[in-house]
């Protein structure tokens, strides 16, 4: 093989250049994919660390007293509730106005509380358990006579919550949903939370809690606290505390590590006198008898599907913190629809005039320059214009019509430019062919030129849709922020991009912000995909 030195050098240069190009291409693809995948992932899946003063141990049949039937809490099947903390249960039953499920399940639904008629030991015990020593069941609570009618009422009332004795559990069926209670807390001696040399024990994880009682962790220092030996203490091993002992008493050699107690009073007494002590008990006991002790925060990892069907079909409430985004999706489509209704005819006809009819000269050049400049102006400037001109001078007010007209102004240059290019790309021979058959200019434009240019025109329209979907700056000043369904031309509204902006700016919920972002990405993907399909079909029909 004969290769000159020069050829070798050229080949090497070529290789290096190729390597560089490839590296940058890969970098770009990775960055783009990372952004889309990150937003979609966060949009679909939430994963949060939340601190509670109860652990995540769930009890479905709650034993209150060894002599009594356990109690089961039930809710209406539409309440998407799996478990409830002791404090939440108390709040729901004792708050002096009707609670909303939004705080617990993010669904905008009033809570209807039900209780059994007082007068027997079971009901009295449960009610004492719910209301605690300082509160009383609120006046909104409906009292029903027996477990059967309780199940009936809960099954037929939206947003209901009630309770039945465990003996009635076989009657529950699928008409109601049973809810677990989280009431097991960790209490610590105040010495554990002391600050020494800038070190303080923070929250504890369920695994650490288990490890402490297994004797694997013996000093608070091991889990981020101060240098203090851990003294684990358990309440007496009889009902109702047997559930705690079942979970935390180690199977082998409990003797040296875990201190056990005879009575609950004993438990709290020992707790109070043992520096470095940690004990497990029920939240209500700790709140009522654990004076001088501290309830330790327990970290819980909450994760699950963010972008659920409920999120898409429910109307938003509480600035978007509760409910879904259904009205906002519909508003978005309305804005797109009306923007297109205004901008497409004006834009397309304007472009037809510029290309087909206008005498090419000063005037057309100025128009062209104008539309090119407008296409490049930041949208916030259009927002400013819209808020002064449409909202104030024309007096249309902040609302749907002002926003639609402003967005129309904004997308018009895009539509005009792309339509112009599409019309110009229709070969002269087609126009001549039509004219030579005796067609008029208008007939030629309407029947030959526009159909031939339609894929290009459609591209412009889609670009306009894309800008409309993604537009925020213009809409802040002209559309307002009402998250209800748009009711008329002057009604303020919110679209997806605005909703995302507002939820982020007001720190409503990052999970829901990301979910909204994911929906936006999906709409854009959908629009792009269907356009590609449509243009493909048009080209196939034309035989290209």
């Amino acid at each position: 093989m004969i290769i000159s030195a020069h050829t070798k050098k050229t080949k090497r240069q070529e290789k290096i250049a190729k390597g560089f190009i490839l590296a940058f291409v890969i970098l770009t693809i990775v960055i783009l994919a990372w952004i889309v995948i990150y937003v979609l992932f966060r949009g679909f899946y939430y994963h949060n660390e939340v601190n509670y003063d109860v652990s995540n141990i769930k009890e479905q049949r709650i034993v209150l007293n060894k002599a009594l039937d356990p109690v089961i809490f039930i809710v209406h099947p539409k309440v998407r509730l799996d478990d409830l903390t002791m404090q939440d249960l108390r709040t729901i039953y004792t708050k002096q106005r009707k609670e909303n499920w939004g705080h617990y399940t993010r669904q905008d639904l009033k809570v209807e509380t039900f209780a059994l008629d007082e007068g027997n030991v079971f009901t009295d015990t449960v009610i004492d358990f719910i209301q605690g020593p300082d509160e009383a069941i609120n006046k909104f609570t409906t009292y029903v006579a027996d477990p059967e009618s309780m199940i009936e009422m809960v099954a037929s009332t939206r947003g209901s919550i009630g309770f039945v004795p465990a003996s009635a559990s076989d009657k529950l069926g699928k008409r109601v949903r049973t809810v677990s209670l989280r009431r097991i807390s960790a209490v610590v001696h105040p010495s554990v939370k002391a600050i020494v040399q800038n070190v303080q024990m923070q929250e504890i994880t369920p695994d650490e809690l288990k490890a402490i009682f297994k004797g694997e962790i013996r000093n608070w220092r091991q889990i981020g606290g101060i240098d203090l030996p851990i003294k684990p203490i358990l309440p007496p091993d009889h009902s109702p505390y047997s559930v705690i002992n079942e979970l935390f008493l180690p199977e082998e050699a409990p003797g040296d590590a875990v201190q056990r107690t005879e009575t609950i009073e004993d438990f709290f007494e020992i707790m109070k006198n043992s520096p470095g002590a940690i004990g497990i008990c029920f939240y209500n006991d700790a709140a009522e008898e654990g004076e001088g002790l501290l309830i330790e925060d327990i970290r819980r990892i909450e994760s699950g599907m963010n972008l659920t069907i409920h999120f898409l079909i429910e109307a938003p409430a509480r600035s978007g913190a509760w409910g879904g985004i259904s009205t906002i999706i519909i508003n978005t489509f309305f804005l797109i629809l009306f923007t297109l209704v205004f901008s497409t005819p004006i834009g397309v006809l304007g472009a037809i005039y510029l290309v087909e009819y206008a005498k090419q000269g000063m005037m057309v050049n100025i128009l062209r320059l104008g539309s090119e400049t407008l296409a490049g102006i930041p949208s916030i400037v259009f927002g400013l214009f819209g808020s002064i001109f449409f909202v104030n001078i024309l007096g249309l007010g902040i609302g749907f019509i002002s926003a639609t007209l402003t967005v129309t102004m904004m997308v018009l240059p895009t539509i005009i430019r792309t339509t112009e290019e599409a019309l110009k790309s229709v070969p002269v021979s087609l126009r001549e062919g039509s004219l030579a058959l005796g067609a008029t200019r208008l007939q030629t434009i309407a029947r030959v030129v526009i159909p031939a240019a339609s894929p290009g025109i459609l591209t412009g329209v889609i670009l306009a849709v894309g800008r409309t979907v993604g537009e925020t700056a213009v809409l802040i000043y002209t559309l307002g922020s009402n998250y209800e369904l748009v009711r008329g031309p002057s009604s303020s509204a919110r679209v997806l991009s605005l909703h995302l902006y507002n939820m982020f700016a007001e720190a409503i919920s990052f999970d829901r912000t990301f979910a909204t972002g994911a929906v936006l990405i999906f709409i854009v993907l959908l629009v792009n995909y269907s356009t590609t399909k449509m243009i493909g079909k048009m080209n196939r029909m034309a035989g290209k």
Binding site: S429, S434, A436, L437, G438, T440, V448
Partner: protein, 260 residues
């Protein structure tokens, strides 16, 4: 009887051009052109590139109107009527159809391409349109090849078929004269010979003016030939005379391939 009648008519003058000057701005593209185009004859226009033959053929159905800055003087009469004064341009183009150099079917189905002209001129009846489409495609010798693909995109058929489709499209408007501006220059030899056969058929019913670069083609298909050079008609006469007995030196040089 009919044959006789046509024979009689064939001597009749269809288009008469007198002293035609055409300017593109300051550039004179046609210089004092005189020409008689006879009915049911094929008239071929030959000459080197840029000699004005395409410009000339486009004046016959006023396609040059579309170009800015064209000035025309002189006289063109069609059936005795001045085409610039006495005719509406739409009516004129219905009577004088045109086939272009490159096949230019519209991006729609074969059927719609042929039906485009009649529809444009107000024919709405489906049955009548079907009839016209079939007649025109038969007239352009395309029907048998294409009758099963009438509703397929016209851009999907071969180049030669596309050009015959363009001829069918012109025939559908029922013209009197068909102008052809180098109709075979973009086609392969087989398609070209089909089109030439077709032209031979068509001259029974239509008057045909054809611009061609291909001397053999002019010799094969035309009845009379005009030689253009630098915007002027150098020589005009029967094809036989022009090819075998040219009077002008330039014509002889061009025919024998010494330039052009």
């Amino acid at each position: 009887m009919e044959q006789n009648n046509m024979g009689q008519k064939s001597a009749a003058l269809k288009i008469k051009v007198e002293n035609l000057d055409l300017y593109y701005g300051d550039f004179q593209a046609l210089k004092a052109v005189d020409m008689d185009i006879e009915e049911n004859k094929v008239t071929a226009l030959i000459g080197p590139s840029g000699c004005g033959k395409s410009t000339f053929i486009r004046t016959l159905n006023r396609m040059n109107d579309l170009i800015d800055g064209v000035k025309i003087s002189g006289n063109i009469t069609y059936d005795g009527t001045d085409i610039y004064g006495g005719y509406d341009v739409i009516e004129l183009r219905k009577k004088i159809g045109m086939v272009f150099q490159k096949p230019n079917p519209f991006p729609m189905s074969v059927y719609d391409n042929v039906a485009y002209g009649p529809k444009t001129h107000g024919i709405k009846s489906k049955a009548r349109l079907d009839e016209i489409v079939e007649e025109s495609l038969r007239g352009a010798a395309l029907w048998d090849e294409i009758k099963d693909r009438l509703h397929k995109p016209a851009l999907g058929i071969s180049g030669g078929q596309q050009q015959r489709l363009c001829i069918a499209r012109v025939l559908a408007v029922e013209p009197d004269v068909v102008l052809m501006d180098e109709p075979t220059s973009a086609l392969d030899p087989i398609s070209t010979s089909r089109i030439e056969d077709l032209i031979d058929e068509l001259k029974k019913d239509y008057t045909i003016v054809i611009v061609t670069h291909n001397m053999q083609q002019a010799g094969r298909i035309s009845d009379s030939t005009s030689f253009f050079f630098e915007g002027a008609v150098i020589e005009t006469g029967s094809t036989e005379d022009i090819f075998f007995n040219p009077k002008n030196k330039q014509t002889e040089d061009y025919i024998s391939g010494r330039f052009g």
